[in-house]
């Protein structure tokens, strides 16, 4: 192994260790790693633009601006109250409706924002219903990760995969949405079966529960009616833009940035205030990671691993199964963003001997749904478990693991079978 490779691999391993142990903030770890790579010229400065995936970073930034402005209108609290009222205090309806709404919102916005905005309402309703909130919170987490799998913009791994493999929004809709749809209902079914004794209320109390939930007024959540309308219209326009980006020959990042600029202009929101709330730490984390993984590509390490792997993988079936399951188990333990960043060049390098098209879907499936396996598998899991803890509700690591692994294995099995049937079996 040459010095460059050794350096790149050491930095990569060190950053991974810091990310897993959380001894350092993941952004600090990634920035530090990238700085070492650049300082030691493992990746020359004039090649940085090749590895820095601006499509991903700008798409995330654009969507963050849109969400930050829309949040000020009370749009998400409005959605949460509407969902609660639709459920009419029936635990089963709460379970189903919150799962569906979480999945749909997560398909278009980032999972962390979605669960941050919906969890307080879910905890409030379960307290009103006097039922154990744990199954409802778990269903919300799983739904968020499944919903994120459904679209190009639903989860950062999908954004990265879409950008690297030049896959369109519609290709994601065609390939991943049906899988997410089936997986969502399977998940709700599993949660219901596993916790059916804990999610029922006394018949006598149902009317009182319904009444107290119906006293919530969604109109109270709207802080700025004009901004509310403008936010809904711009979000809808952005979604339409995503559907058309391929036809128009425009990158998804451009759609998101145009939407963000339009909403900034139309709403008259202070750009300083809105941009201050952009999650710069996440964007710099991505930037750092791209450089660190870029160093592995630049030094030829990724090519060697790909060659070694293709020596063992002889068919697309093997590749689909290996990538989806390996990604799932890896993503259940480590952050799926650095994992996907590492896998992307690897799959690209395998392109010489295999058709990589189905492999991208296998990666998306494993990286997104693998997060359901453990409490630390995805950011949404950590946020819900953390919020629950702050509210005095304990979801232990083992409790999460027991149901999470079942959900992960079932959903990945269903997903990989669909991908296999679509591209190999039929």
């Amino acid at each position: 192994m040459q010095t460059g490779e050794l350096l790149a691999l050491s930095v990569f391993a060190g950053v991974y260790a810091f990310i897993i142990s959380e001894k350092l903030h993941r952004t600090v770890a990634a920035m530090l790693g990238a700085s070492i790579i650049l300082f030691l010229n493992v990746v020359p400065w004039d090649k940085v633009y090749e590895y820095l995936d601006l499509d991903t970073i700008l798409l995330l930034a654009g969507m963050m601006v849109v969400v930050n402005i829309a949040r000020e209108s009370g749009l998400f609290e409005y959605i949460a109250i509407k969902t609660a009222k639709f459920s009419k205090g029936s635990p089963l309806k709460v379970l189903l409706l919150f799962s569906v709404v979480t999945a749909v919102v997560s398909a278009f916005l980032d999972n962390v924002t979605t669960v941050l905005l919906l969890t307080p309402m879910l905890i409030y309703i379960t307290r009103q219903m006097d039922v154990n909130p744990v199954p409802f919170l778990l269903a919300e987490v799983f739904a968020s990760n499944i919903g994120g799998t459904a679209t190009l913009i639903g989860d950062p791994p999908n954004i990265m995969i879409g950008s690297a493999a030049e896959l369109s929004f519609n290709e994601f809709i065609f390939n991943m949405t049906p899988i997410a749809f089936i997986d969502l209902f399977i998940t709700v079914g599993i949660i219901y079966l596993a916790f059916r004794h804990k999610i029922s209320t006394h018949k006598k109390r149902e009317e009182a529960i319904k009444r107290s939930i119906m006293t919530l007024n969604e109109e109270d959540a709207i802080k700025d009616r004009v901004l509310f309308r403008k936010s809904v219209l711009i979000i809808l326009a952005i979604v339409v833009g995503f559907f058309l980006h391929d036809t128009l020959g425009i990158k998804p990042a451009v759609i998101a940035l145009t939407g963000a600029s339009a909403l900034l202009l139309w709403s008259g929101a202070s750009p300083e205030y809105v941009l201050e709330k952009v999650e710069w730490a996440t964007l710099f984390f991505f930037g750092g990671l791209f450089i660190i993984v870029g160093a592995l590509v630049e030094t030829g390490f990724i090519d060697q691993v790909a060659q070694w792997m293709t020596g063992y993988i002889h068919s697309e079936t093997q590749a689909i199964l290996m990538i989806s399951w390996f990604s799932a188990f890896a993503s259940a333990i480590i952050d799926n963003i650095p994992f996907t960043a590492t896998m992307i060049p690897l799959i690209k390098a395998m392109g010489g001997s295999l058709n990589t098209y189905p492999l991208w879907w296998a990666l998306s499936l494993g990286a997104c749904l693998g997060g359901n396996g453990t409490a630390i598998g995805a950011s949404a899991n950590v946020v819900v478990v953390g919020m629950a803890y702050r509210e005095g509700i304990r979801i232990t690591f083992m409790e999460f693991l027991k149901i999470g692994l079942i959900i992960m294995i079932t959903t990945v099995a269903v997903g990989s079978a669909i991908i296999w049937l679509k591209y190999v079996g039929m």
Binding site: L116, P120, S212, V383, M387, Y389, F397
Partner: protein
Amino acid sequence: MININRLILRKFKNIAGSRYEEILKSYREFFLTEEEMRIPHVESVLLAIDRYSGEVPEGIFRLLEHYSPQRATVIYVIDENVCRLIRDTLGEEDSEKFREREKELAEKFLKNVGSRLNNSGLNWKGDVVFADKTKYIEGSMENYDVLVIGKQYGLESAKTHHISPLVFRIVQHVTKPVVLY
């Protein structure tokens, strides 16, 4: 050995940052508190109506059912100052005609509200009074636990305000809980 729960909380702090507190703060504005969720003990309710109050919404009857007071009184208030003004300007006969018509309207209102209260199984009595619309209610509230009143009570027909200034005054002066509809 990593303490997994501590790791999760550290991750939570890094990911959610201050957003969690901000979101909770905005939810607190419309979530009911523990105290608000408790059903208060209510013995007597005064439901004040007039020609501007409009129909009493179904939610109010459901709320009253929930309180299940021993005594519910429905008072229809006709502004005595208006009657005096008509008598002073148009004469006794026209004033009497006005009083009669207002009373007829009041009884119709009372009948509707009363039938709904009967359906809810509530023990109630009704009355039509000619009085000052604010002073009468403020004075009566010494004998009741809760006042139920419409936002449009005492409002002129042009309805230039969303909440009647009379209701504003009553809410400020009455020391008992007021349910506005």
